[in-house]
């Protein structure tokens, strides 16, 4: 079973996971010690309240003078109020400490991600955010309850030891079962349970996707009953396993409660046989019961701990990366950079076909290249290679100074035909391949190559802030000019630059959103401008106008356009058709016309 193997790996690494996560608690250790003591105090007050009340009643039954009870009466009232107040202070202290810790964890994770290839899926991101929340759960719902229960248990056994060693021993044995053995069992069951449920849930999620997104195909081919039956079988299996797991988990709860009662009676009987006074027999029994209930909270803590194990492991993995080095690398050539892809390939997963295979592309200064192809063909991956967001798994992506001869800036588009075949171009060029782009200063590389990329994000901030990202020193006039180029001029005139755009531009229309992202790319004004479907969401007439305006603004500087539309490509020196990660066709200016697009 892969589940067992995975569990073994997890077990091996659990120490280092905890070490990495808790390293962030170390600078705040006194706050956490304080919170732990407050938590223990809260539980002790609850236990003490029941013990003191029992002592009060048992003593009162002997009808002593009232003065003998006065301390107990005060104690009962003080503990009753104290417990609530302690709980309140404890929760504030622990939350403040853990939020301070999470602040550091977030900053560090963000820094670690800066140097990582981008995550491609939105759900991976929100999972990461909830993974960080698991750090909070670890402290508040696992470690603090454990620390509090542990301290109270030690204090209880210590107090019993003062009364009688045998009684203390019985109490200790009972607490070890309810507070250690059963929680360990509960954690084990929880881990085992999620190992069994995870693959079933994944299988059912696939069924759901097939039934919902494949609804038309299933209906047309009359295959719905078959796939519905398959989904139902998985759902039933899921329900069966969930019920079985619930039975075991609640059996552990029942055992803990019953065993708490057994311990209490055993303590009472032992104390009686050791000749302790009658009043204390009742106090010990009630206090033991209260301690047993405390142990029940450990079951919840243990289960929570098992539940967040996966999240913590992912967090620890990110935290384990070395702190990002200060930016460095070769200075980015300014003026005229010549990019080349030579047999470049990218493979995201070992068991899947490559996203890009053996791609050659030559981008001397001033060249305009259009990349077309169906979705999933590798177009955006190609752009990611040029930005340096990903490095090729095979082949080379290089940049060098512009060769002396092959292309004359200012007249690149006049030479129809040009050199469509990069190897040839290179052979009669400088011969030198240039420097792999990974060697350049990553933070400054965008000055050479950037643009509007597929994952362009609008921040929940003002239009101005979103634009300034591309060029922090830009003046308002420059911002408005960029907007005008992207066809957003009228809108900015009407609304100004201080309008907030909402979460990922949610308060803009699709077209406005796209144009704002385009304006930002225009403003960045790199040597090579990348445009990934820049006019998506615009109607065809607007799309052509906006693209023409951006190309006019670029003048004789390089543009790489990714698109699925075949109009307006006459302005490009080369058209590259990708499918399945390979170049299917490539041609020069006349290509589109010849293909009847």
């Amino acid at each position: 079973m892969s589940g067992i193997g995975e569990a073994a790996v997890r077990g091996m690494r659990r120490d280092s996971v905890m070490r990495r996560v808790l390293a962030f608690a170390y600078p705040l250790r006194w706050r956490f010690v304080g919170a732990g003591l407050l938590a223990a105090g809260t539980e002790a007050a609850g236990l003490g309240l029941m013990a003191a009340a029992t002592w009060l009643l048992a003593t009162a039954a002997g009808q002593p003078p009232l003065i003998a009870l006065s301390i107990a009466i005060v104690l009962v009232r003080a503990l009753a109020i104290g417990r609530g107040v302690l709980r309140y202070v404890e929760r504030l202290a622990s939350h403040d400490a853990v939020l301070r810790m999470v602040t550091e964890v977030r900053a560090r994770i963000f820094a670690a991600l800066v140097d990582r290839p981008p995550a491609r899926r939105a759900d991976a991101l929100s999972r990461m955010v909830s993974d960080v929340d698991a750090v909070q759960d670890l402290v508040i719902r696992v470690l603090l309850p454990m620390a509090a229960a542990g301290l109270v248990a030690v204090a209880a056994v210590g107090t019993a030891l003062l009364a009688d060693p045998a009684v203390a021993l019985v109490l200790l044995a009972g607490l070890l079962v309810t507070g250690v053995a059963l929680p360990l069992l509960a954690a084990r069951l929880a881990r085992h349970g999620s190992a069994r449920l995870a693959p079933l849930r994944a299988a059912y999620a696939v069924d759901t996707v097939d039934l919902v997104h494949g609804a038309a195909d299933l209906a047309a081919f009359g295959a719905r009953p078959e796939y519905e039956a398959r989904g139902a079988a998985h759902a039933d299996e899921l329900a069966r396993v969930e019920r079985a797991l619930a039975r075991r988990s609640f059996a552990v709860d029942a055992a803990a409660t019953a065993f708490g009662g057994v311990t209490a009676m055993a303590v009472m009987i032992t104390a009686m046989s050791r000749g302790l006074p009658g009043v204390w027999l009742a106090v010990l029994a009630v206090a033991t019961l209260a301690a047993g209930e405390l142990a029940l909270s450990l079951l919840a803590a243990a289960r929570k701990g098992a539940e967040i194990q996966g999240s913590l492991r992912r967090v620890a993995e990110l935290l384990g990366e070395p702190a990002p080095a200060a930016s460095g690398g070769l200075p980015v050539p300014d003026g005229s950079v010549h990019l080349r892809l030579r047999g470049a390939g990218v493979r995201y997963r070992a068991d899947a076909p490559p996203a890009l295979h053996d791609i050659d592309l030559d981008l001397p200064p001033g060249r305009r290249v259009a990349v077309v192809g169906p979705s999933g063909a590798g177009k955006s991956t190609l752009l990611a290679l040029l930005t340096g967001a990903i490095t090729p798994d095979s082949g080379r992506v290089t940049a060098g100074p512009a060769p002396a001869q092959p292309t004359v800036p200012g007249a690149p588009r006049s030479g129809a035909g040009g050199e469509p075949d990069p190897p040839t171009a290179d052979a009669d060029g400088t011969g030198a391949d240039g420097t792999p782009i990974a060697a350049f200063d990553r933070e400054r590389w965008p000055a050479a190559v950037t643009g509007l990329l597929a994952d362009a994000h609008l921040f929940h901030a003002s239009v101005r802030d979103n634009l300034l990202l591309a060029r922090p020193a830009a003046t308002d006039d420059e911002l408005v000019a960029a907007c005008r180029t992207a066809g957003l001029g009228d809108w900015v005139d009407a609304h100004g630059l201080d309008v907030r755009v909402g979460e990922d531009g949610a308060e803009l229309s699709g077209g406005q959103r796209q144009r704002l992202a385009l304006a930002r790319a225009v403003l960045a004004d790199p040597q090579v401008l990348l445009l990934d479907e820049p006019t998506e969401g615009l109607d065809p007439a607007q799309a052509d106008a906006v693209l023409a305006a951006v190309l006019a603004h670029r003048g004789d500087r390089s543009v790489v356009l990714v698109t699925h539309r075949l109009t307006g490509l006459d302005a490009f020196d080369e058209v590259v058709v990708l499918d399945g990660g390979r170049v299917k066709e490539r041609g020069t200016q006349g290509w589109v016309r010849a293909h009847g697009g």
Partner: protein
């Protein structure tokens, strides 16, 4: 929000009738737990009172342990029933939601709804576990246990019973009051809080963009500062929010003091037995415990209630007649569209369309995208029903036909076929799972999929990833054609089989399409001249109206 905030959603009993039995069972178990709580306390009180007098009362000790074990078992039983209920409700809602997709047909699933449904059915409903196993049992015990405790207290000591009776309602009342206060206080900070809380996700989502403009490192400090401001804002809210926990805690503990001290004084005066006094002391906290537990778990179970509400809302929207009738579809007759109009909320896709499709005709549909070509195919597939007008199959209205039977006569090649997470062979044999292996291989070859299959190490038995991960769009399209070949249906509906293909794939798809339509009735949406050559008639659809171009 109001419908969500209720502790129990009565629609559950209507939607999943089998839960009625479980609800009754929960009530019975809850009552039984109350009895064992009272019994255990009374027995323990006797055992303790005996112990104070240095007597061992074996009957009382045994009674206590038996009652406590019964209580533990019954409480667990309550949890198991609740968990079973959760599992049943999830399985049943999942079946209902997916059944609604089947009943209402693919047309119902436009856009947003498909994603929402897939997420809700897949993982969203798992949030119900917290509600059912955490909150619901405590809610039941919050009713039964206080009743049992109060009855016993009234019997043991009336004064204590009155104290508990008066203070008990303080828990829900203060819970509501403080919750209300908290909401007012938090609403003031809500905009700010959610803005700050969302900031980390915003920054993570925008990381590629930050990197693209060389601004990522500069943002690390901003992330730290923002997180710290988030902490300060959160703490301001928590100071108020935790007051509710403080009140719940205090009501419980102060009642113990309120009961214990007067009882102690009465014992002192000799007006009460020690057994009765212990019974009161042990029972008092039990009265408050379930309500407090329910209160602390309510927020955690909100997510489950929201998922439940979402499911009921979707199911209510899915109500309404299922498509299709019961009459057996006639085979191979003339198909007539008479004055058919299809109107959606904002647009009219087809306007008063007449079209006659005679057996053996191959009609090419041309026109701008969005003109209504795909709607016409959807009508014949039964995915869309006419707003006005009728579709007649050999003189019988399509609406009266058994849709499954009718669809058995159709071969459909959509623009973008869904590929199922299954083997290549199973994907081709969609709807005919017991097709002989040889015929599947034949269909694959006919659709020019042969070389693709041969190149795969496991051939037809290769398992495709989720949504056909791993096939190019050309291969995808050929697989859709292979489905149609295997189907061997008399009427073919092809929706731009060559859209978005490169030249090489296009050629392969065109030639297999031509051999597929040979000798069959076909409606094909087409742009490419090569496909138009196969048509006997060409019809142009523009802005919902039909124009005959060529009649061969």
């Amino acid at each position: 929000m109001d419908s969500v905030a209720r502790p129990f959603d009565p629609r559950l009993l209507r939607q999943v009738p089998s839960t009625r039995r479980d609800v009754v069972l929960l009530g019975v178990l809850g009552a039984a737990v109350a009895i064992t709580v009272v019994t255990a306390a009374a027995a323990l009180a006797r055992a303790l009172a005996a112990a104070v007098e240095l007597r061992l009362d074996p009957a009382a000790i045994t009674g206590f342990l038996l009652a406590l074990t019964a209580r533990a078992a019954l409480t667990s039983g309550l949890g198991v029933v609740a968990a079973r209920m959760a599992a049943t409700v999830k399985a049943s809602l999942r079946a209902d939601l997916l059944g609604a997709v089947g009943r209402r047909g693919p047309g119902w699933l436009a856009g947003q709804r498909a994603g929402e449904l897939a997420t809700l059915t897949g993982r969203g409903l798992d949030a119900l576990d917290g509600y059912f196993t955490g909150y619901l049992p405590q809610l039941v015990l919050g009713v039964t246990v206080p009743v049992g405790v109060l009855a016993m207290l009234a019997f043991a000591d009336l004064a204590s019973a009155v104290i508990v009776l008066v203070t008990l309602p303080l828990i829900p009342i203060f819970g509501i009051l403080v919750g209300w206060q908290t909401r007012i206080a938090t609403e003031r900070q809500w905009r700010r809080l959610s803005m700050l809380g969302g900031h980390f996700l915003d920054m993570l989502s925008g990381l590629p963009t930050l990197k693209a403009f060389g601004r990522a490192r500069a943002q690390v400090t901003a992330v730290r500062e923002m997180a710290d401001r988030h902490r300060e804002a959160t703490m301001r809210t928590l100071r108020i929010a935790f007051l509710s926990a403080l009140v719940l805690e205090l009501v419980g503990t102060i009642s113990v003091a309120l009961v214990a001290v007067p009882v102690g004084l009465r014992l002192l005066g000799g007006g009460m037995t020690l057994t009765a006094a212990f019974t009161v002391l042990l029972l008092t906290p039990e009265a408050y415990a379930p309500l407090r537990a329910a209160g602390t778990k309510f927020h955690a179970s909100m997510e489950g209630l929201t998922a439940l509400d979402q499911a009921f809302t979707l199911l209510a929207a899915a109500g309404g007649g299922s498509a299709g009738g019961t009459r057996t579809a006639p085979r191979g007759g003339v198909i007539e569209l008479r004055g058919v109009t299809v109107a959606y909320e904002r647009t009219t896709a087809l306007r008063d369309v007449d079209l006659t499709i005679r057996p053996g005709e191959r009609i090419a549909l041309v026109g701008p995208s969005g003109g209504g070509k795909s709607t016409l195919l959807d009508l014949l597939l039964g995915f869309t029903t006419p707003t006005a007008g009728r579709i007649l199959v050999d003189g019988v209205d399509l609406a009266e036909l058994d849709l499954d039977g009718w669809r058995r006569q159709l071969g459909w090649v959509p623009q973008r076929a869904h590929l199922f997470a299954d083997t290549l062979a199973a994907n081709i044999a969609l709807g005919t799972p017991d097709a002989p292996r040889e015929r599947i291989a034949q269909a694959a070859r006919a659709a020019a999929l042969g070389p693709v299959v041969d190149a795969l190490p496991q051939g037809l038995d290769t398992v495709l990833g989720e949504r056909g991960h791993g096939l190019s769009s050309g291969e995808r399209q050929r697989l859709a054609l292979a489905r149609a070949f295997l189907r061997d249906a008399p009427l073919l509906l092809l929706d731009e089989p060559t859209a978005r293909l490169d030249a090489a794939s296009e050629q392969a798809v065109v030639s297999s399409t031509l051999s597929l339509v040979e000798g069959r009735t076909a409606l094909l949406v087409a742009h490419r001249p090569a496909l138009l050559a196969a048509a006997t008639r060409v019809v142009r659809i523009d802005q919902g109206t039909l124009h005959e171009l060529v009649t061969a």
